[in-house]
Every structure is written in C-alpha cells, then in structure tokens.
C-alpha cells in the first residue's frame, strides 16, 4: 500500500459534470414551472400528484446524503450494525403512510406541518415546533450542501467550496423556477438514476472484490466491524430509527407531499416508497466494508462511499458515482428548500405578518424565500464544521422529541398543547445533554423517551377533548 493515492477524476471533468447536470436540471425546472399559475400550484403542485410520481418522490427524497454518504460512513464506523441499522430508517416512511392518510383526511385544505401544530396545540407548542423545524431544516440543508462539496472533493480533489456552491446554486435555481412540481418531477428521474446506479456499483464491487477477501481483511484487522455485540453500534440502532421517524413525522417536506398527493394515494405511496428505500442503505453501506481491503482509509468517514466506488470502478465508475450521489443530494435539497420556504411563507409571512396577502404576493415571497434560504445555507456551509453523520445526529435530538406529540396529536384528542410543548422542549434539551455527554448515537433515543413520558402524563391527566373540526381552517 505504498502507491500514491490519486483522485479518480480530474477537477476539470468534475466541474464539467456539475455544469452539465446543473444546466439540465435548471432548464427542466423552468420548463415544468410554466404550468404554475397560483401559489397553491407552486407550493403543493395543485394537490394532484398521482401514485407513480408520489411513490418515486417519497423514495428519492429519502435517498440523500443519509443513504449515499452517511450510510457508508456509519458502516465504516459501526460495521454490520451501521449498515443494517441504517436501513431501518425506511420505517420512517412506512410508518408515515397511515399518518399521511390521516393528515389528508383531517386537513384536506392544509398547507404545512406548522398549520397542524398551531391549530391542534396552540401558540406555545407552535413556537417550540418552529424552532425544532428550523434547526432541523438548516441542519439537513447544511449537511446536503456539505455533501456536495465532499463528493466532488473525494472524487476529483476539487476544492470543497466549489462543489458545495455549485449544488446549492443548481438546486435553488430549479426550485425557484419550478416549485414543488419541478421538485417532484426531478425526483422521479433522480429515483430511477439512483436505483440503477447503486445496484450497478454494488454488483460490480462484489464481482471485483470477493466477499471472502473482504471478510478475511475485516476479521484480521478490523474485527469490531463484524461484531454483532459492538456496544456503540447497539446503542446506535434504535437511535437511528427514532431519528428517521422524527425527521419524517415532523418535517414539512413530508407533510407537503402528503397534502399534495391526489385522493387516497398518500398511504400507498409512502408504503411503497419505504419498501423501495429499505435495501439502498444496505447496498451503499456494504461498499464501505470493502474500504480496508482496498487500502482506502478516508480523511473523513463520510467520504468512504464515493472513494471506494471510484477506486473499484475507475474513471467511469467515478462518473457513475458522481451522477448517482449528485442526483440523491439534489432530490433532497430541492425538496427541503421548497418545504422550508412553504413553511416560512405560510406560517410566518401569511399567518403572522401579512394575513391579507394576495396569492400573487405569496407566490413572490415564496420565491424570495427559496433564494434567501439557499444563501443562508451557503453561509453555514462555508466552514466545514463537522462530519455529516455528527451534524445530522445533532438534529436527531430535536426531531425525535416531536414523534409522540405528532402521533398522539393526530389520533388522540386528549393531549393538550401545554403538554405537547413541554414534551418537545424537554425531550430536545435532554437529548442534547445526552448528545454531548454520551455521544451522537443516543441523542434521538433520549429525546424520544423523555417526550413520550411527558405525553403519557399529559394524556392521563387531561380533562379536555380537542374538537377535530378546528383543524378545518380556511386558507
């Protein structure tokens, strides 16, 4: 292992790929955006998304830096459990299927998850929820922007800031032109690219580097990666599940989809999206297990996936990896930009600042918002502050505290706003304490457990019954 480790692509080729893909997506977004006539068209794609597009966007949005970069990272760090545990994040989509059906039934004219919290739990809970949503949205946005930079750096040695800037400009560009319609349509194409690409890479890897040689190398030199009794990995398992559940249950990315899907499509779409997603982290994670056998020891654990694929597949492989990961990042980044700007437009601008705003003004503000959020994300991405996994799991302490308040809020009319607010705030705080005192792999679990306990007390002590008709707010 003494040869120089060079990059799979030269930086000019890497840049050319970025420019070509960027222009294609932006032109496509502009083309689709021509059909947007009202703010509802722009924000919720006219509430008319059919089953095929719905399932594809559910799956593609969930395939992100999480699956293409962080799943290999966690496999590299936690071994078998990292890989299997990561695939359990599919449970988030699968368990959101019944919730999505319920959301659509309770709020057929709703816009955002913030709407639900405000109407169901009142102002105090809404503020706590908005803080959690904003922290999470920026945590995820920053991790996606960072992932773009890391991807290009790992494959071509191109400066981190260039890749990061490029992916943000591209995603802001086509979301700005096309709104949710463009986001969902590009997600469909990106989903196809991701599935074909990931399966192709894994197939070639197994064919080139045998399973037996990978197993031998790991057994001899990295035994903990094969150990099913690996303590930190065991601690990580349910933490990852609750993190995934919290991400999906609270985020307007998924609520806006549930509300945009046609009729009763939501339940089937999320179920199928989850089942399609389930094997992807296994495949991407497996790639990382081959790293020691190939003599690849990355600068940062989140770079291991692209580096292994590029090493095994050479230049062509590096291009494939680039296209797959770039598609995965774009499919999530655009969704998050659109959903976060909807949340700000609807919950802050329309409901707090300008209740009389016309449809045209909302449409315009939404677009300014997308550009502003893109710029803010870029500023946060400039200093590469943490690994992707650590950054994402920091947000885990926030989002996991919303799981029980949301589930009980949707189904149980006894939980009051005060208890929901206390559950989310105390869960987040103690989740953060565990994040800093134990590690990132327990933050979500702690937050969820505390929040569940507070909600249980709230339901038992409550004397009030919520009137579900209060959720029917005119827009």
């Amino acid at each position: 292992m003494s040869e120089t480790a060079d990059f799979a692509l030269d930086s000019t080729l890497g840049l050319s790929l970025v420019v070509i893909f960027g222009l294609l997506w932006i032109i496509f977004g502009w083309y689709l955006g021509r059909a947007n006539k009202t703010h509802e068209d722009f924000a919720l794609a006219g509430r008319n998304v059919g089953f095929a597009l719905a399932a594809a966007t559910a799956m593609a949005t969930w395939v992100t830096s999480n699956t293409t970069l962080v799943a290999p990272q966690l496999t590299y760090q936690f071994g078998i459990w990292g890989m299997v545990g990561y695939s359990f994040a599919a449970l988030g989509l699968i368990l959101f299927a019944p919730l999505a059906a319920r959301i659509k039934r309770l709020m057929p004219k709703g816009y955002t998850s913030g709407d639900f919290i405000r109407l169901r739990f009142g102002r105090a809970a809404w503020w706590v929820f908005m803080v959690i949503s904003v922290v999470y949205a920026f945590g995820w946005l920053v991790s996606l922007g960072m992932a773009g930079g890391i991807l290009l750096q790992a494959l071509s040695g191109l400066d981190y800031h260039i890749g990061m800037t490029a992916i943000l400009i591209i995603c802001v560009g086509y979301t700005l032109f096309g709104g949710l319609r463009a986001v969902i349509a590009t997600d469909f194409i990106q989903a196809l690219i991701i599935i074909i690409g990931v399966v192709g890479i894994a197939w070639y890897l197994i064919d080139t580097v045998s399973l037996e040689s990978i197993h031998t190398e790991l057994s001899e030199n990295h035994p903990r990666l094969l150990d099913l009794m690996f303590p930190a990995a065991i601690m990580f398992l349910f933490n990852n599940i609750f993190f995934g559940l919290g991400e999906i249950f609270h985020s307007n990315v998924w609520w806006s989809r549930a509300l945009a899907f046609k009729g009763k499509v939501a339940f089937k779409a999320f179920l199928l999206g989850g089942l399609l997603w389930l094997p992807i982290p296994i495949v991407t994670g497996f790639i990382a297990l081959a790293a020691p056998q190939l003599g690849i020891f990355p600068p940062s654990a989140d770079m291991v996936g692209p580096m292994v694929a590029a090493e095994v597949l050479g230049k062509v492989g590096a291009i494939v990896v680039f296209i797959v990961v770039f598609s995965a990042l774009a499919s999530s980044l655009d969704s998050l930009l659109a959903a976060t700007s909807d949340l700000v437009t609807r919950d802050f601008y329309h409901k707090k600042l300008r209740p009389q705003a016309s449809d045209k003004q909302l449409f315009k503000f939404n677009r300014y918002c997308i550009a502003g959020i893109g710029l803010l994300t870029w500023l946060f991405c400039l200093p590469q502050i943490a690994t992707l996994g650590a950054l994402l799991n920091f947000a885990g302490a926030f989002v996991a505290s919303t799981i029980f308040p949301i589930v009980l809020g949707l189904y149980q009319n006894k939980l009051s706003g005060t208890y929901a607010a206390v559950a989310m705030a105390s869960g987040t705080l103690l989740g953060l304490v565990s994040y800093f005192t134990i590690g990132f792999y327990v933050a979500a679990l702690t937050a969820c457990a505390i929040s569940a306990a507070v909600c249980a007390v709230g339901v038992m002590r409550s004397r009030n019954r919520f009137d579900w008709n209060k959720l029917q707010e005119s827009s």
Binding site: H161, I169, P299, F404
Partner: protein, 171 residues
C-alpha cells in the same frame, strides 16, 4: 421570469463555477516533480485523540503532506512488530481509522517506499509516535439502551396501527 433574466442567471452560474475552480494540476501529488526539492523536508507531526469509546478515530497531520506517506500501526510502543500499514490519501490532513478492539494502539508516519531505489533512504525518516486508548462502552450499558429503544418503538408501532385501524373503522 423574463428570458433575459434566465439567460443572465445561467451565464452567471457558469462563470461563478468556472472562476472558482482550482486547476487540476494543483492536486496532483507527483514525486517526480516534487521529490527533488522536498525529499529532505521534515515529516509533518502526527496527532490523534487520546481515547476512543467506539473503536474509530481520526489521525491528523500538522500540515498537508508533500510526499507519499505511510502510517505504521503497532500494538507495541517500540514498534518491534508492525501490525499494519496504511497509505495516506492525497494531500488531505486527516485519516479516519476504524474497527479497533480494546487496548492501546500506536501509530507513526514514514515516507512511502514506492519511489525508486535511490530514494529508499527516505524510509528511515519516521515521525513522532501517537497512542490511542480504545475502551468500548460496557455491553450491559448498550443492551439497556437497546431494550429501552425496543420497548419505546413497540409502543409507538402499536399506537399507530391500532389508531389507524380504528380511524378506518370509524370512517
């Protein structure tokens, strides 16, 4: 948005990306061009965290490498036996290692021996030695958290499925 504005945005995007690019040659680590004036340069200082509870950790260099480097790993402080070597990747300053069991692990740098015979004297150049103490969490602690997570998850699934069925029946 008017056509002209779209055109301007596209051109600006192209220009921005192109102007920010570093030339590919800036990243090529080639001993042929560099070894002549850098063969005598000192090795960067190696650093590492003192402890790890997960068996993975990051080794760091005090500056970007200017020559091909190898990390030597041993469980012996005196390096009487080298257990494994790791090639340093590119001009990055960090390397993440993983999968280590409980114990004290020692690391040091040396210059790669892939260069021609006349340069092999560089192999003797060694860096400082760093040690990492790996001490995994107790299994009992991990299993307690695992059980807590399992119970909480089961409760959540039962609530969702039960309420979903109930809500459908109510319809």
């Amino acid at each position: 948005m008017p056509d002209r504005a779209r055109f301007v945005i596209n051109i600006a995007l192209l220009l921005l990306i192109t102007l920010l690019a570093r030339p590919a040659s800036a990243y090529v680590l080639s001993w042929q061009t560099e070894s002549s004036n850098q063969s005598n340069s000192e090795l960067p200082e190696l650093s590492a965290p003192a402890n790890s509870r997960e068996g993975y950790f990051v080794l760091s260099l005090s500056k970007s490498p200017t020559q091909d480097l190898i990390v030597e790993y041993s469980t012996d402080e005196e390096f009487r036996e080298i257990n494994r070597t790791y090639a340093w990747f590119g001009d990055f300053q960090d390397m993440t290692l993983t999968g280590f069991s409980d114990g004290t692990h020692y690391f040091r740098l040396k210059v790669s021996s892939s260069e021609p015979a006349e340069n092999t004297h560089q192999e003797t150049q060694l860096s400082n030695v760093v040690q990492v103490q790996v001490d995994h969490y107790a299994l009992e602690q991990a299993l307690t958290l695992f059980s807590l997570g399992g119970v909480l998850f089961a409760i959540l699934v039962v609530i969702i499925l039960y309420q979903h069925q109930r809500s459908r029946a109510h319809e």
